[in-house]
């Protein structure tokens, strides 16, 4: 198991490096950052000076090697736009995003599994069909769409929740629901299908024949044996939620990392974009490593194979 974990972590580091490299070149494809930093009609000498300061006058491969060195020594750069070290910027913004993303993930996991379980038990009933239809709607509805619909309805018409900012607990409701909607739907559908499948196994009748109550048969045998795909999906939702937060934070003017990242990309604030992508890539990679490890923990057969 440890050997497997180490291999997986090394692969993960490679993945993160690849993503960082792609983003490094991608942001530089968008053009010269000095365009946005100088006013119209500034002298060419000033622009040249600035380009030298930003090291964007050097050939790309030199820039890349320098940046990589900086990254490895922990020198993550400075944001021209915000006049701050990039790392400090993320120290402010990242907690704001986590405050939104973590509860959303939890909400998605709990409600997804609960709805999926109810649908599976009442399989083919009205409840099941309702869950199936509603989850398709939320699964396909894009975040920005749902966000705007919510603002129109709950902020403008009903005036229940503020449409922007993060001032009170009320500000959390709409962005959280928007972020959680997709994951809830996906997790619910998967849990339902997985559980319906598991419940057809003979060991379910075997458990019933032990005299175990139906609720315990469903939890201890049904859900427990359906867990691997569900845990995988929950882990993968971490990526969806972080990606989604870039959109949702913009819709609800939430002062988090997603909003920062979008603004930075627009303004060619290279260092900010690079670190943001690095954080997201690392988080998602770690989530995937944990998913892989969880399979060994959840299923003794996988543990045996890995040995």
């Amino acid at each position: 198991m440890t050997g497997f974990a180490i291999k997986r972590i090394l692969k993960g580091i490679f993945t993160v490096w690849c993503i960082w490299t792609i983003v490094f070149f991608l942001v530089r494809l968008t053009g010269d950052p000095t365009d946005w930093l100088v006013e119209d009609g500034a002298s060419t000498t000033y622009v040249e000076q600035l380009r030298q300061q930003l090291h964007v006058d050097e050939p790309l491969h030199i820039q890349y090697i320098e940046s990589l060195k900086d990254l490895l020594t922990g020198n993550l750069g400075y944001s021209r736009q915000y006049k701050k070290d990039v790392i400090l910027l993320y120290k402010e913004r990242l907690p704001q995003t986590l405050k939104l993303a973590l509860p959303s993930l939890l909400l998605g996991a709990v409600f997804g599994v609960a709805l999926g379980t109810v649908a599976a038990i009442k399989h083919d009933s009205f409840a099941d069909k309702t869950v199936r239809v509603v989850t398709v709607v939320f699964h396909t509805l894009p975040n920005f769409c749902l966000g705007i619909i919510m603002i129109l309805f709950f902020s403008l018409t009903l005036r229940w929740f503020p449409s922007a900012g993060s001032a009170t607990w009320k500000s959390y409701i709409m962005p959280m629901l928007t972020l959680a909607s997709g994951p809830t739907a996906t997790i619910a559908r998967l849990t339902r299908n997985s559980l319906v499948n598991t419940m057809t196994n003979e060991y379910i009748d075997g458990a019933r024949m032990k005299g175990v109550s139906e609720i315990n048969v469903i939890i201890r045998h049904g859900l427990r044996n359906s867990l691997s795909p569900v845990v995988t999906r929950i882990g993968m939702q971490i990526g969806t939620i972080i990606g989604g937060s870039a959109v949702v934070e913009n819709v609800f003017s939430w002062p988090g990392m997603g909003q920062l990242l979008v603004t930075a990309a627009k303004n060619r604030d290279f260092q900010v974009v690079q670190l943001g992508v690095l954080i997201i890539a690392t988080t998602v990679t770690i989530a995937h490593i944990l998913i892989d490890l969880s399979h060994g923990w959840l299923d003794p057969r996988v543990r045996e194979q890995v040995k």
Partner: protein
């Protein structure tokens, strides 16, 4: 008390969108304490459905017990509330299934699977208390060095060992009745004999009655006391195991006997088989269920269903044209 289990006029139907399949259509049988009753018949004759109806293990979405009484020690099981039924499953009546590999939950160890059935009927029991009993149980079902097997998962055991674990689970609470649904079909032939021997031994040690479901007459002959031959959802012949093998009276039973290949027979001779397939007859049934495949069928057989009549002590046959020469 005479009979530990009495099943009277049991009818269990499968309902699909387009039709109704009478999987079990009026089955009666009784089981005495310590008796081994065999339910025999080909696939689809309703033998498994009978067993599953008894313990309420039927898919309620498309299967319904239409009528019948299932009396276990005088208590009606048909329609019993699920809480009381749970108290009987695994304690009064246990069941083992055809394929042990899919009947054991893959993610729990041998210990926790056996502990679960003990805990279900004795919430006070601790793991430490259960340990000794579980080791003894595993010894009784013939698992060598059971202490070393407690933490194994089902997939780490061979098919025969898995079936022994299933049997240990079934016996954990000293049941009155053990229902064995094709307990040896999925096992190697050499292991089959061992498991059957074991079941016989355990019947004596635990003093329980058994219902053995099988399509294999050899299996039935080797351990049963009494046999019910089923066809098309009804019992066509019921007798002691000696009578069934020595004087089968129903044409279907005779056909089954004739289908056993003889080891000394002429190799050029074609093997005997009963012609045709099991046919689903939708209720109400107005003919003998076997008449289309029966060589002796007469007009009478096509017009009404023969009743199950007692022709000798404990020997019942459902046929108008049964053997009368003996």
């Amino acid at each position: 008390m005479d009979n530990i289990l009495e099943v009277r006029n049991l009818r269990t139907y499968y309902h699909t969108r387009t039709r109704t399949v009478p999987a079990v259509d009026g089955v009666d049988f009784t089981l005495k304490p310590k008796e081994i009753l065999g339910l025999v018949g080909e696939s689809g004759c309703g033998k498994t459905t009978v067993a599953r109806s008894v313990v309420g293990l039927i898919n309620r979405r498309n299967t319904k017990i239409e009528s019948g009484e299932i009396l276990f020690k005088g208590q009606e099981l048909n329609g019993m509330d699920s809480h009381r039924l749970c108290g009987i499953r695994g304690k009064g009546i246990s069941m083992i299934f055809q394929d042990p590999f899919v009947s054991l939950s893959p993610v729990y160890t041998v210990f926790s699977q056996i502990y679960e059935v003990m805990k279900a009927h004795d919430p006070e029991i601790t793991k430490a208390q259960a340990r000794g009993r579980i080791i003894e149980l595993l010894q009784n079902v013939g698992i060598p060095s059971p202490e070393l097997r407690l933490d194994d998962y089902p997939f780490q055991l061979s098919g025969g060992m898995q079936q022994r674990v299933m049997i240990a689970i079934a016996l954990a609470n000293n049941p009155d009745i053990l229902i064995a649904d094709e307990p040896t079909t999925a096992l190697d032939v050499t292991v089959q004999a061992q498991v059957l021997d074991l079941l016989l031994q355990l019947r004596d040690r635990y003093e329980m009655a058994m219902i053995l479901i099988s399509h294999n007459l050899a299996v039935v002959a080797s351990i049963c006391d009494r046999v019910c031959v089923m066809y098309g959802g009804v019992v066509v012949e019921e007798a002691s195991v000696y009578d069934i093998f020595d004087h089968p009276m129903h044409p279907y039973t005779k056909g089954l006997m004739a289908s056993i290949p003889s080891i000394s027979g002429d190799r050029k001779e074609e093997l005997f088989s009963i012609k045709g397939n099991v046919e689903v007859i939708e209720p109400p049934v107005t003919c003998c269920r076997f008449c289309k495949r029966c060589e002796r069928a007469t007009e009478e057989c096509r017009l009404s269903e023969p009743p199950l009549v007692e022709v000798g002590p404990g020997h019942k046959v459902r046929c108008f044209n049964r053997d009368r020469e003996d």
